[in-house]
């Protein structure tokens, strides 16, 4: 099969290509080299000049530009991507998963008479009878089963997971950009803005190296027969302040608000990790007061280096789900950890930089960004 590749990209709020888009370009370049197939970069932007200010090597660059594309919205994004796909006539369309294009990729594939596979973590080219063929890897059952698959049908849309490819940084001088016209449908939806839930302002940080997970043990009765939710909250927030870590939670802990149990007010379902939560990517993860049950641990798929503090020596973490388990009282350990981190920060140590953003967010309480 003679293949050609299109990478769909979009500008971010600064007019430059988004991080996910740059990862998509890398995936497209790699595949183009592997297949010896031509590459087209398709750009969706308000104004193409900034977004196309990178050199893309010998790739053809197409751009759809329109004021309405400032908003991340299904109807306009689908129309813009459809126009790029029709102009490029590619057999393989690569889209990197960010919330914006994840919303429309399948719809665009449908309009093109194509098919889509998503959550792709790697794209491999192998020599087959008639030339080279493409296989992709993705997971099923929320990361519990891994499959390698291929499709005969074209166009084939591949939505790749964030963080699976390095961000593209440019290749040679800036080339020519071809404008692609788009006819937008009448728009019934207006994007009003972004809102950070008041409770979890800045506790979720995809860029952080470290994830701290809080489990339901933090709000359960402790050895003295009492709950200590306020102290738990202080310890957790203290740790975030000291390390800049992102905060995840087990389902049991975030559900407690609804069940009338003691709550940590800064947690929402957005913090939940696992089967019905998120699957973040951080280099390291520290689980505290969490049992490490399978529906939770599937959310740790992309966290390579894992440690846990639990009172229970038979918790899930101790059974092959973490690298190190400390059988200890997390209240006592985390108090000491915070003490040491604060002292290290005070001494301006390189161990962990204090998190100024977080401190500021606490002071300013800049919850609503709309």
């Amino acid at each position: 099969m003679v293949e050609s590749i299109l990478v769909l990209t979009h500008a971010d709020e600064n007019g430059m290509l988004s991080q996910a888009s740059l990862e998509g370009v890398t995936a497209g370049k790699d595949l183009s080299v592997g297949l010896g197939a031509p590459l087209v970069i398709g750009v969706v932007a308000v104004n193409g000049s900034l977004a196309t200010s990178l050199g893309f090597g010998n790739a053809r660059v197409l751009c759809v530009a329109d004021e309405a594309l400032a908003q991340s919205r299904y109807a306009s994004d689908a129309a813009a991507c459809e126009a790029l796909c029709r102009a490029a006539h590619a057999s393989i369309v690569i889209v990197a998963a960010g919330s914006r294009f994840t919303r429309v990729a399948a719809g665009v594939a449908f309009r093109l008479g194509g098919l889509i596979d998503t959550h792709i973590t790697s794209i491999n080219v192998s020599a087959s009878g008639e030339g080279r063929s493409i296989e992709v890897t993705r997971s099923f059952y929320r990361q519990r089963i891994e499959a390698v698959l291929s499709r005969d049908a074209r166009p084939w849309f591949l939505l790749i997971d964030a963080g699976t490819h390095a961000a593209f940084t440019g290749d040679g001088p800036v080339g020519e950009v071809e404008d692609v016209p788009v006819e937008l449908p009448s728009l019934r939806t207006q994007v009003l803005g972004l809102r950070a839930p008041q409770q979890n302002a800045l506790t979720i940080r995809p860029e952080a190296k470290l994830l701290l997970v809080a489990g339901a043990g933090w709000t359960k009765k402790q050895a003295d027969g009492q709950t200590h939710a306020a102290e738990a909250g202080d310890l957790i927030l203290g740790f975030l302040r000291n390390t800049g870590a992102s905060l995840g939670s087990s389902k049991s802990l975030v559900d407690q608000g609804g069940d009338g149990g003691p709550v940590l007010p800064f947690l929402t379902h957005m913090n939940q990790i696992g089967q019905t939560g998120s699957m973040p990517r951080h280099a390291k993860g520290l689980s505290t007061c969490c049992h490490g049950e399978e529906p939770h641990v599937v959310g740790w798929r992309f966290i390579a280096d894992r440690r846990a503090i639990s009172l229970d020596p038979n918790c899930g973490w101790a059974r092959g789900k973490a690298d190190v388990v400390y059988v200890a009282d997390a209240f006592k350990v985390m108090a000491k950890v915070n003490e040491k981190l604060a002292a290290a920060n005070e001494a301006n140590s390189a161990v962990a930089a204090p998190d100024r953003d977080f401190q500021r967010s606490q002071e300013v309480d800049a919850a609503v960004l709309v």
Partner: protein
């Protein structure tokens, strides 16, 4: 304008997440070992969609909720025993093979056909709900495809909240990067909303609701149409368990201070 809504919730079934899953390859492709024997639940994010739909419908008189669910009849019946006690809806079952390895495009086609054929459905009142991803295939594409097939181009994914206004317009909160929500206003139905967790706790079982629902659920299951799902050129070369098992070092009988020192060193290490 009244705010009467016709909400169609698309929800599949999934194995209870506490079950051990083992892939096997059979004559028709990959599947799970003893899949028909595993206890099943309504797919969790789609279940949030159902509870949000029922809640919305209860607030706007004259509204109606359909639950379109594709899966083996026997399994659907089992899952409905509990789900029927939690919300009022009309079940539209589609009898089809179990499992996450079926092609999403075929599933979406069967769902869209079933929705288009619903008697009395008014497109001007139509909200299509579902989970933004399933717990089986987890592709996150089915609702989009259903929407496209039905010509609905106001679509939202990762929805945690909808606020309906008197004029029929609504505001939607969708999950975006960094723990934030994007807030959008849509002028009204029809629209597609793929739900994340939403804001509602799972309703308690109400046997009366269950009994009322079951009167229509059982005949619907008996009449469920059989759907064959085409593979659309999808080939699986391998299906396996990810290598997840780690050699865990369990640290016991150490003081909090010693453990803290080790953790701080670990945080600082590259």
């Amino acid at each position: 304008m009244t705010n009467e809504l016709h909400i169609v919730v698309c929800a599949g079934i999934a194995p209870d997440p506490l079950q051990t899953l083992e892939p096997v390859t059979g004559a028709t492709g990959p599947g799970l070992k003893n899949e028909m024997m595993l206890p099943a639940i309504l797919d969790p994010w789609a279940a949030s969609a159902l509870f949000e739909a029922a809640n919305l419908a209860s607030r706007f008189p004259g509204s109606k909720v359909w639950l379109v669910s594709l899966g083996p009849k026997a399994k659907l019946q089992q899952v409905m025993m509990t789900v029927a006690q939690k919300a009022i809806f009309e079940l539209v079952p589609i009898d089809a093979p179990i499992g996450g390895f079926a092609d999403a495009h075929a599933t979406a086609g069967a769902l869209a056909d079933a929705i288009a054929a619903l008697p009395g459905l008014d497109r001007e009142k139509l909200l299509i709900f579902g989970g933004w991803e399933s717990a089986t295939r987890g592709a996150g594409v089915t609702l989009q495809l259903v929407g496209e097939r039905l010509g609905i181009t106001d679509q939202f994914q990762g929805v945690d909240q909808i606020d309906l206004h008197d004029d029929g317009s609504f505001e939607v909160l969708e999950r975006v990067e960094g723990g934030k929500h994007q807030v959008s206003r849509c002028i009204g139905a029809p629209a597609v909303l793929g739900w994340a967790t939403g804001n509602l706790a799972e309703p308690r079982n109400n046997p009366q609701t269950g009994m009322a629902n079951m009167r229509t659920i059982m005949p619907a299951l008996q009449k469920a149409k059989l759907a064959t799902l085409t593979a659309n050129g999808l080939h699986y070369s391998s299906v396996s368990l990810p290598k997840q098992q780690r050699t865990t070092r369990v640290v016991k009988d150490r003081s909090p201070d010693e453990i803290a020192a080790e953790i701080v060193a670990w945080i600082g290490a590259n």
